[in-house]
Subunit: 99 residues, 2 copies
DNA sequence: GACAAATATCACAATATTGCTATAATTATG
DNA sequence: CATAATTATAGCAATATTGTGATATTTGTC
């Protein structure tokens, strides 16, 4: 494939800046949600007066897994896992995309 | 390991029935959430007047992936994918566990 | 009906999440 | 301080999700 042409066009430069900015925002958004979910799990667990080991047993997994889920930097949250936790605590999982 | 003792105790029988019922409920709950999320994605996409192919391009994947996400029976929803969709549509993903 | 556009389905590779065990590190309790 | 209880980390296997391309099916238009 030919080499990409050098950009000298101001509009193109701004467009690329826009794209890059959008990606950065999306990435920050993801981090925000991950941290929020981690905190939510922690709050629910401690609110129910459970240790990580106890919650783990309730949903059929191990303590280390709960610890991982409560790590603010963890990126792997899934709806199925959130559902397992919600059910164990007799609550409901709600998802929405708005605004 | 020794064979599990035969259950003749009424309390034990009821407890097992309770556990089984709880598992069934959890399973139904998961199905409900999955279907809801699938529908939410469909509504957001059509609301934004996008084809599956267009939305796919916006989030950097393929049309078949969007089709899969909109299938009510799909069990693999992840927060990262929901985030990608929310960001592409300039909206925010909200998660809560309540009630 | 013919054709195009959009969606659904399939199969398989690539990647990510979860399960699991062991152990280190931290926190609570006497 | 010693000990137990709890939480954090690490590594790797098992499983699940996503990426991708090819093709079938459906839907809309003329």
């Amino acid at each position: 494939m030919a080499k990409k042409k050098k950009t000298t066009d101001a509009v193109e430069i701004l467009r690329r800046r826009y794209i890059k900015d959008k990606k950065r925002k999306a990435s920050l958004e993801a981090e925000r949600v991950n941290a929020e979910v981690a905190r939510m799990i922690y709050d629910l667990r401690t609110g129910a007066d459970l240790t990580q080991g106890e919650l783990a047993k309730l949903i059929g997994t191990k303590q280390s897994v709960i610890s991982r889920l409560e790590d603010a930097d963890y990126k792997g949250h899934s709806l199925s896992m959130l559902n397992r936790i919600a059910n164990a605590l007799n609550k409901k999982l709600n998802i929405s995309i708005e605004k």
